[in-house]
């Protein structure tokens, strides 16, 4: 049995659905408060920093939380290869700690800057598509996912644009395959413009890993798409077809949704046999 900690920092708000998505693939999940003794965290095999507004996004999203002893402990645990996923606000926290991408350890090399979108500044909540690439993170976070698939997922953020001021960091992120997930259109082609590209991120990045590939900063919300019932009913494409075919079938709607892959991949990496019908 593998165990994952979902870290509850004041202001996060996705801890319960994140825990449910882990439980659905057979990973035992516990919501751990930020001020529990940091040593508690060492007992876990994986960590999720969930979405929300940790410490009210004071200074910058994720900046205050990145200094917490609990987050420092998780960063240290990651050095031994334990998987860590930061979703949305959790991604902002990981980037603020510097462990993603971690090209020069100890340095903060990335930022999640305010969205760049025509006529539409600030926060937005919408469904988009992402596609996985080959890279060091694939084995941990996308092993159950075909690289051809355009995966519909919801996102909800105001500051989700991966950016760096250092051209060398950008080049190495690209050359080392650290952009594990990119925004694409419904057909899986690179997102050329808004709204397929929701925020103007460098390299159309939706998710970037560390060099070792065991820490992922991911802006979309796979936990909000982990069951088929969460899929918008009129969405185009294969996932939309599955959702429409499931009208009237509770069992089908309680099956995996497009975001399940991340949790299923994590379970596989942790050696957890997923419950029947839970994986994809």
């Amino acid at each position: 049995m593998a165990r994952a900690a979902v870290l509850q920092i004041p202001g996060v708000n996705c801890e319960y659905e994140s825990a449910r998505a882990l439980e659905a693939v057979g990973i035992e999940a516990r919501v751990v408060r930020f001020n529990e003794p940091a040593s508690v965290l060492s007992e876990f095999d994986a960590y999720v920093l969930p979405g929300g507004f940790a410490f009210q996004d004071r200074i910058r999203a994720g900046a205050v939380a990145a200094k917490l002893p609990a987050v420092e402990r998780i960063a240290r645990e990651s050095e031994s290869g334990k998987p860590v996923v930061g979703i949305c606000n959790g991604a902002q926290v990981l980037v603020e700690t510097g462990i993603v991408p971690g090209i020069h350890p100890g340095r903060v090399e990335l930022a999640l800057a305010p969205n760049r979108a025509p006529r539409r500044p600030g926060y937005q909540c919408r469904w988009i598509h992402v596609r996985a690439s080959e890279g060091p993170g694939r084995a941990t976070f996308a092993s159950t996912l075909s690289l051809d698939e355009a995966v519909p997922l919801p996102l909800a953020h105001g500051e989700g644009r991966f950016a760096t001021a250092d051209p060398d960091v950008r080049a190495r992120i690209e050359s080392q395959g650290l952009v594990l997930f990119r925004y694409v259109d419904a057909a899986g082609r690179p997102a050329a413009s808004y709204p397929d590209d929701p925020n103007g991120a460098m390299l159309q990045a939706a998710g970037i890993t560390n060099v070792a590939g065991n820490v992922l900063a991911f802006m979309p919300h796979p936990e909000r798409a982990a069951w088929l019932r969460m899929m918008p009913q009129d969405w185009p494409g294969a996932w939309g077809d599955r959702r429409r075919a499931a009208i009237g079938s509770f069992d089908a709607l309680e099956g995996p949704g497009p975001g399940r892959f991340l949790f299923a991949s994590l379970a596989k990496r942790l050696g957890v046999a997923a419950p029947e019908g839970a994986a994809r």
Partner: protein
Amino acid sequence: MPPTAEAPVLPFAESDPAALKKLLAAEGLRLAPGEVAKMLELLGRNPTRVEATLFDTMWSEHCSYKSSRRVLKAYLPTESPDVILGPGEDAGVVRFGVHEGVEYALVIGHESHNHPSQVVPVEGAATGIGGIVRDINCMGAEVIGVLDALRFGDPEGPRAATVREIVRGVVDGIWQYGDPLGVPNLGGDVFFSGRYDENCLVNVVALGLVRTDQVVRSRVPEAAKNEPYVLVLVGKPTDESGFGGASFASAILDEEAEDQRGHVQVPDPFLKRVLFEANRAALAWLHGQGAPFGFKDLGAGGIACVSSELAAAGGFGMDVDLDLVPTPEGEYPSEVLACSETQERFAFVVPERLAPRLLQIYNEEYALPLVYHRARAAVVGRVRTDGRYRILRGGQTVCDAPVEVVTAGIQHERPRRARPAAPPESPLPPVRDHDALFRKLIASPNLASREPIVRYYDTEVQGRAVLRAGEGDAGVLAPIPGSKLGCAITVDGNPWYVAADPYWGTAHVVAESLRNLVAVGARPIALTDCLNFGNPEDPEVFDEFETSVKGLGDAARALGPKGEAGPPIAIVSGNVSFYNESSTGRAIEPSPIIAALGVLDDYSVAITSGLKRAGNVVVLTGAREARLGASQLRHALTGETGGRLPTLDFESERRRTYAVLDAVRQGLLLACHDIAEGGLAITAFEMALGGFASQGLGLQLPISALGDTAAEVRLYSEAPGFLLEVRKEALPRLMSLFAERGVDATITGRVLDEPRFKVLDGGSTLIDIDLAEASRLHSDGIRPYVE
């Protein structure tokens, strides 16, 4: 507590009318002279400043329902087999269903935050959300969704700049509060009309989920007779923010509104989210202890109201010690500490022996003092068994009265006078170019896409969404993980309808809200109302109010599944907001806003309004009546908003509504959309467009079979009805179901495999538009007012 001295009093009894007026003004009190006399009679002496402030708040229209109570009681049905708790507490509670042997209930509340949103839109709207979610949480429930019904002035009218600023501010306030709180937005509606130019409406609805055996009442429990109980105040430190807010909400906005900003509370969704988590832990622990307890949120009237109401509801008294109330640095007068409306606070009454552990949960585990300067939980009072209510400060008794005197309330009889009949409708000019008219209408403020607003709202958080705002006619949630149980909710109102005919206009709003529920497959179980009107002292306004409430009550009785013969759809919670007018005496349109809540035994049957598959047929039910009063068409062609409303026949409406519900439940339909503002044309167009996403389908709509009235009547009559997408194979079953129920049905369209919207009348094509282009027009309609 130490023995106390008498506090100084305000010399009301000795004041002549002129001096009284002066004294009230100097003290910032809005009590009427007659109300001062009643207060003196109840107390038997002059009040202290704290007491006068307390009565001023408790007797405000906002808190006392002094004009409306009689009317609400006379007309509104509040009980049905679905109801657990009707109006009276912070929110209504209705039965939901059983999952794995546990019985669950839904909690629903409905509030307005109109004046604050007009004066400071961001904070006003944010604290509107902040207040309604507290009402739900304090019933012991987890908040699982909010909705917002917004009414703004004319964004193209004489005050367009201010109106647009308010639109942007209100939308910002709602998302900036709701999103960090982690509560999804489940829907809402927006209506623009010039009569809201100087008084916008921000109505908010919140929904909660609770185990039926864990509903917490807002009162001191009976057990306080047997052991000592204390009052625990939780949350933000008490400051002067929002002092006088309830009275402000109950007055007419005037030119000095700028000076009234101090009455608006300061929102903090970050602290609220932490408090909700701490409340979850605290409630779970208290339920485990087995001792009864009370819980209530702090809203209007602050500590004084919450403590006296908790005490009075249980038949007890209370001593509250203001010296124990956590505050920021600085000195605060007693009346401010007692009555300010500082946000993000709750109060418990618990056995004294449980208080230390309760404080530990808030102050240590959830670290309130760390996340917000000086926020904490503290014991601030003690329950008395003798019914005496006292507030103490610095060795003085600043309030001392039997609790029933404090919470006695007040009522006013308001005179009524029917408004003079409106002049007859002017004839509509003929429509020469249907295509151009259609393009104009789909971009008009009241029919354009709400997408520019909705994309700011988090519709996904909590992972319970089945249908989102805009996907279907109502938002649908699967709130209990692993359970088939679903719930659906919608909020509706049409001010032009109610202005044209307060009785039938309101009944139409109820009917529409029920149509929205059945369209997604939900059985209606409860309603809430927020009744926004002008000055109740104006006999014509009050007549509109009473007539509207009568229409609401009659519709709620007649539109239950069995009509008058069975239980009604009960009204379980609500709010009355009067004095919605500007200093120039221009009242808003009478604006009852109705939320409707429904249940799905199996959420998987829920369908959206978007078309599903090319080749399917589209069926209309509900004849297109040639009555275009108050319609969007009439306004577009003449600028007028009055006239004769479409007929609402309760019996045929009821039959149609429940026939559609059964058709959805039996899986006969693939898409369903009710007909309301904009009529058949707009309904059909929205189905073709898909509310939330589109598969690239289109719709061909021949209208020659719909009677021999003018095409614009058939296209834009807002007579009630539905448009249904049906698979050809399911058509015979649908037709026989409708025939059995005596419900009309006409095949009126076909789903196309290309993104076009075409309307044909006999041999001529009235409308033919590419849906990508139409979508741009539709979604850019209100964008300039929002972005």
